[in-house]
Symmetry: C2
């Protein structure tokens, strides 16, 4: 399968914000060429797409999500994290089946595609059916273990690590735990042993709320970041999700261990958890990526909204309108999120990289006039600007329509049935 | 012209958040019927629209904007209000012509239509050409005088008041001034005399930044709200725009005078001006509406983004996830904004009201599952959910296309030419 995009503006993100005019060639799942217009030498393309001067760029990577939580959208709003989690979410999740997760992951994937998200890091209940849902749709997915003291034990995580990292082209599986407050110290020590056996990055919800940090201090006398560092869980890199309430010492640990922070501003705002110190992270040289979190706490899976929130909330927090500018945010939502998820082959548009590409519709009023396109995307962009979403060389969403193999009506119908059961 | 919407969900906003199944009938610009399915008695409709169970609701009203500032989108970002205004905006505005304003207002109107905004309160340079642009497109517009010591004098404002309130069906003109810091006290006293002559509401940017309030205190020993109250400018109601930095005493004045606060959270965040105390306004019984402000400081004209920001920032400011819930926000963006703009006949969907109606596409992944539609709109909605925008009984935007009489490509082309000149 050979495909050619021509007459395009291209923001490859190799030099963030830089835009060229040219074309992109793709063979199967791989980018063959990104550059200026090229003379055609009897190429036989399966499809040639006139981009009409719209913009091609790498797909957004959603570096932290709980995809199947779409079923809880607008079901239990206006609560703080602990009440929401313990009284509304956990009891309902206890009734969810693997089949539910399959269906609801498909619904979340539809939303990702409309928002130009080409991969999600998904920490949720049944990795096997999540993987199946993504494989069936053609969605790239990094499943992250959400191990905790209430769920399946370590051998299950290890089994998933060995199985799901080899079963599907588009799916990988990462080691991690849900959070400090849902794991005993003994459990974390055991996880650390597994981590040292495989020598791989580690992922965890951390320092999301003030209460969480205070309770950890009460239990162990140190912050969650310091605790996990002591336990050796940060020895091979990885990410912490949220990182709203961290100290200077925490930041030094994160920097030293090469741990990235995945920020989830929509969720943190809606649950009143606080504003993450993004400017401080950047000053410490810590890599920041962006996630939507789950639709129950956000309530949408929209990278445009998250990008604007990252910069807008940073400006408010720092009392500085120059804080965390648009180009930094674009880098977070593409390159940084990709690398934090272990998707180094999906970070930029370049020969040899995976063809995870989106087309931004510039002929919409919110992108006009065409002064600074990169800034427009962050400060003014919207889901309505996603003209096409391609993953691994396959177009899954184009001009408002999903690819033929995706049964949209069936997904809506089944999701509503699951809602009725869990409500 | 008789039109029937059937097979619809309807959120009339008569009882905010309540949704019925039924139909809406329209004759010319007026709503004839809103209610349950009705037996058809040989009606001859010019058009019948099957809503396929999508949602009809009142259009959003953008209660504060500078529409033609779309030309400055992404041109001068990451600056504080005073630097941005004095060094970037004012010098460029000095070069703008009435024709420029005509063209750029049309561009802003396109964006409003894609966001379900059916009327904007526009304070900008050349009211005559703004009115013409809106009349030509079929956009409802409330033009607000931005009188200040650098611009046209009071007789021009009075002339516009008398002319533009009678020239076009869809256009009205309100008395107002730009801000305390751009008017002398003598000028404000003169404006107050005009206001008392006509006995009409008054509109002004007020208490947007801390600096603005401090400088007013230094000049007059009191806050801008107290000053304008003393000068009698609040005697007939009206609105203040922004209201980010107000005191308890200010709030008591606003409540007593029936002055509404129009909040502009996107702009206030991007310029790092602060978070308006919305929860306090509501506790004081002050009416709050929502505006996008201009695209130069926001940078988009998207009521969905503003609605989410109103609630999300309130939750952060109050450290309370229950602050300013979705239904309150929906009321602000429709009913409150409409009434604050003097559009009492466009506030809800009801017999005899103007047919300013939008259709929300519920068959998009961000609206599924269909648990709580009103909450979905505020917490998860996006421009991509606007399936139709109707103003005064005319459909101007439907399924991603603008009405035939709107020359979209010409508007983009001309706007880019103006940008090149002003850049």
């Amino acid at each position: 399968m050979k495909l050619r995009f021509y007459n395009a503006r291209i923001m490859s993100m190799v030099n963030p914000g830089e835009i060229i005019q040219g074309e992109i060639h793709i063979q199967d799942d791989t980018i063959l060429y990104v550059g200026e217009e090229k003379a055609q030498e009897n190429h036989s393309w399966d499809r040639e797409i006139d981009c009409k001067e719209n913009l091609l760029m790498p797909g957004f990577k959603n570096a932290h999500a709980h995809s199947a939580m779409v079923v809880f959208r607008s079901l239990c709003d206006d609560l703080n994290l602990q009440d929401w989690l313990h009284h509304e979410i956990f009891p309902r999740e206890a009734q969810m089946t693997g089949e539910d997760c399959y269906e609801l992951t498909r619904l979340a994937n539809l939303e990702y595609l409309t928002s130009g998200i080409t991969a999600a890091a998904d920490m949720y209940l049944t990795p096997e059916t999540i993987a199946e849902a993504c494989n069936d749709m053609g969605m790239r997915c990094v499943i992250v273990s959400g191990l905790n003291k209430f769920g399946p034990p370590i051998p299950v995580m290890e089994e998933r690590f060995n199985t799901l990292n080899n079963k599907y082209d588009l799916v990988s599986f990462k080691l991690g735990v849900h959070a400090e407050y849902t794991c005993s110290k003994e459990l974390l020590e055991e996880v650390s042993k597994v981590l040292h056996q495989y020598q791989v990055p580690f992922y965890v919800h951390m320092s999301e709320t003030k209460t969480e940090v205070e309770e950890c201090r009460a239990r162990y006398g140190i912050t969650p970041v310091a605790l996990f560092d002591q336990l050796g869980l940060f020895d091979f890199g990885g990410s912490i999700y949220h990182g709203v309430h961290t100290t200077k010492e925490d930041m030094e640990i994160l920097k030293r261990r090469g741990i990235s922070v995945i920020t989830n501003p929509g969720s943190n705002a809606k649950l009143a958890s606080g504003i993450a110190p993004i400017e401080d992270y950047l000053k410490h040289g810590i890599t920041v990526g962006i996630g939507t979190d789950g639709a129950s706490s956000n309530n949408c899976l929209d990278m445009f909204r998250e990008m604007f929130l990252v910069t807008a909330l940073a400006k408010l927090k720092e009392n500085d309108p120059a804080a965390v500018d648009a180009i930094k945010v674009l880098t977070m939502a593409t390159v940084n999120s990709a690398r934090s998820m272990g998707l180094d082959n999906c970070d930029v548009l370049q020969e040899g990289k995976q063809a995870d590409i989106i087309m931004i519709d510039l002929k919409q009023p919110n992108m006009q006039p065409l002064n600074n396109i990169a800034k427009n995307i962050v400060y003014s962009g919207s889901k309505m600007n996603i003209k096409m979403t391609m993953i691994a060389g396959k177009i899954l969403y184009e001009d408002g329509k999903f690819a033929d193999h995706i049964p949209v009506d069936e997904i809506y119908e089944n999701s509503n049935k699951i809602l009725e059961r869990l409500r």
